[in-house]
Subunit: 342 residues, 2 copies
DNA sequence: TTTAGCACTCATAATAAGAGAGTGCTAACA
DNA sequence: TGTTAGCACTCTCTTATTATGAGTGCTAAA
């Protein structure tokens, strides 16, 4: 069982290491104003903390460094949330002065600003579209055999995709089809589009359109493509500034990870509601072994639709980052809810 | 004046250095099969080449390294274009099996494949849109005061932007407006859109629509936003694999450069027709001091519309990269011209 | 004109010696 | 019993010293 003093020492060690990136020794700790014990006392407690696995020594006669378990305990029990200063609040709020229907821009800007505030890498998962409802469908023929399908959703998102026109389909067929689609599909959530097309629409098309089956399958395919949420990044290269990544070998893995959206997507999508901190190996990913990922979800109304994340070294300013991410996610939820849920 | 032998030696030095990244000495050169002179002879020629500034020594007693001037001469006069092998041709051609109207995808894929073939960073500037012609305009109201403007061009590109609806504008106004816009603007190049709106359309709108001036200015603003060509990247982190960038300081500048699209855009847009090689300081950019940039333009018909670029260390496989970039740019021109210019 | 030979240079690697920060342990102290 | 002072010990890091060797420039011979 840990004494209060030991916990205090653990906390000071971690705080210090987060600041300096240097192993911290008993002597330098004892010299701190807020620490009232002698270096020997601290050494005893350090030995205990090390036995329990909260801190470790890079080598026999060096200061101590927090272990992942130490960070974990720190995040779970020792953290006092850092209050954001006026400046920071201002900066975050400035994200939302933009025209809010330009959702992509807002999200993009969030990522940029968050990375600038933290000096880490920010990743924002744009709001999920599957619950967006169709506002308008359009087919624009480009040539004899190609056309563009356009879907506008109630949130102002526009999806478009090219598809091949079957033969024997003429302009009036297309017009009829667009009419039918709009009559029947406006208000339908994107996630149900495919089903509706094949269950309800197919019947109507059969009646009115030549070669309806080819046309429908082409269109459906165009529309069906996974409307995946998009990732936005800020400060992709910030990791290069961290002293623990002064070694090119270490950085390569991480940079590759960041740059290859797929892996990041897997990591970010499907985070639980609220704030989550994943430290080092907890990320279950070799590239992230020396990184921590702090995520926060945001919602429209009660439904979680996206996430914000900060990727930094395990030696991260947890307290400050958590506050920032928390604040932004709430702001985001507020803004989106106001917009789409009132 | 350089003798043939000196030029040959220069070429072998550069070829060797490109392969090994190590300064090359007279002895190791003399040992090569294709070199028939003694190391002493080579030393004499090297001294000459150094006097003329084509090669230099990192320090007094090390082998020689090509200077920028050396690379320049090499690229301009010594290069024998490397024939692409079957595999490479296949790979590049595979880019164009995709449905060609999915232009963004094709361009994206080009960047990826080019970076994989070269192990450098590939940048592709998507085709310019300013000569695209309007195929269809659409306004989709989202709420009382917001709407989405959509422009579809004849190349299948879809631009969309949110804008604020002025008060006193009702659904029938919008419908009228869309009709007028489509009647008058289909076939107009995007670059002339703004002018046409304010010269021809404004007159018509005045007659038919409430609050036409507010509506027009809102719409025009939405439509006016610079439809800037988009950059696509492949292998952003490939630079990390280059031994000359094993130092984090050096890499930071370059990575920042790559990541901040703006600078890259300035560098790539406005390249001349055909292949261009910019070596080191020729790029006029501190971050690119140790990099070379190989660019090739591609066209639709006779008109240059975009560019392909490879960014690598000055110690780049010029011969191979030039061939690849050249081949791809011609393929691209062919594909686009077939599509849009026939 | 080319090449062999040789002294010279200088980065790199290996080795040794100190300095210093930090530890663990013991014994004294409150 | 918990805390602290003292001290020997460990181990990294820095600096100095010394080979080692690849490579050069120069001279003289072929």
């Amino acid at each position: 069982m840990l004494t209060d003093r030991q916990l205090f020492i653990l906390q000071v060690i971690i705080d210090d290491f987060i600041r300096s990136a240097q192993p911290v020794g008993s002597r330098s700790l004892a010299e701190k104003e807020e620490v009232a014990f002698s270096s020997a006392t601290i050494r005893n407690d350090m030995a205990e903390l090390e036995d329990l696995g909260f801190i470790e020594k890079p080598h026999t006669s060096s200061g101590r460094v927090p272990s992942e378990k130490g960070y974990r305990y720190y995040v779970d029990h020792l953290l006092h949330p850092k209050k954001l200063n006026h400046q920071e609040v201002e900066t975050i709020n400035s994200i939302f002065v933009d025209r809010i229907y330009e959702l992509e821009k807002v999200v993009q800007k969030s990522a940029r600003i968050l990375s600038e505030l933290t000096n880490y890498t920010a990743i924002v998962l744009g709001p999920e579209l599957k619950d967006n409802k169709v506002k308008k469908l359009q087919i624009v023929p480009l040539s004899k055999d190609a056309a563009i399908a356009i879907i506008v959703t109630d949130t102002g998102h526009v999806e478009n995709r090219a598809f091949t026109l079957p033969e024997q389909v003429n302009a009036s067929d297309i017009e009829k089809m667009v009419n039918i689609l709009n009559e029947r599909l406006v208000g339908v959530p994107l996630s149900e589009l495919h089903d509706k097309l094949y269950k309800e629409i197919v019947v109507l098309l059969r009646r009115h359109i030549n070669n309806y089956d080819a046309m429908l399958s082409m269109f459906a395919e165009a529309v069906d493509v996974q409307v995946s949420e998009k990732l936005f990044f800020g400060g992709k290269t910030n990791m290069l500034n961290q002293p623990e990544f002064h070694d090119v070998e270490k950085i390569r893995l991480v940079m590759n990870m960041i740059d290859q959206e797929e892996g990041m997507y897997r990591l970010i999508s499907g985070v639980p509601t609220g704030i989550q901190v994943k430290i080092g190996k907890e990320n279950q990913n070799a590239a992230m072994e020396h990184c921590s990922l702090i995520t926060a979800s945001y919602s429209i109304g009660d439904e979680q639709v996206g996430a914000i994340a900060i990727l930094g070294p395990t030696r991260m300013e947890y307290s400050r980052v958590i506050s920032l991410v928390d604040f932004l996610s709430h702001d985001m939820t507020k803004a989106l809810t106001n917009l789409y849920h009132s």
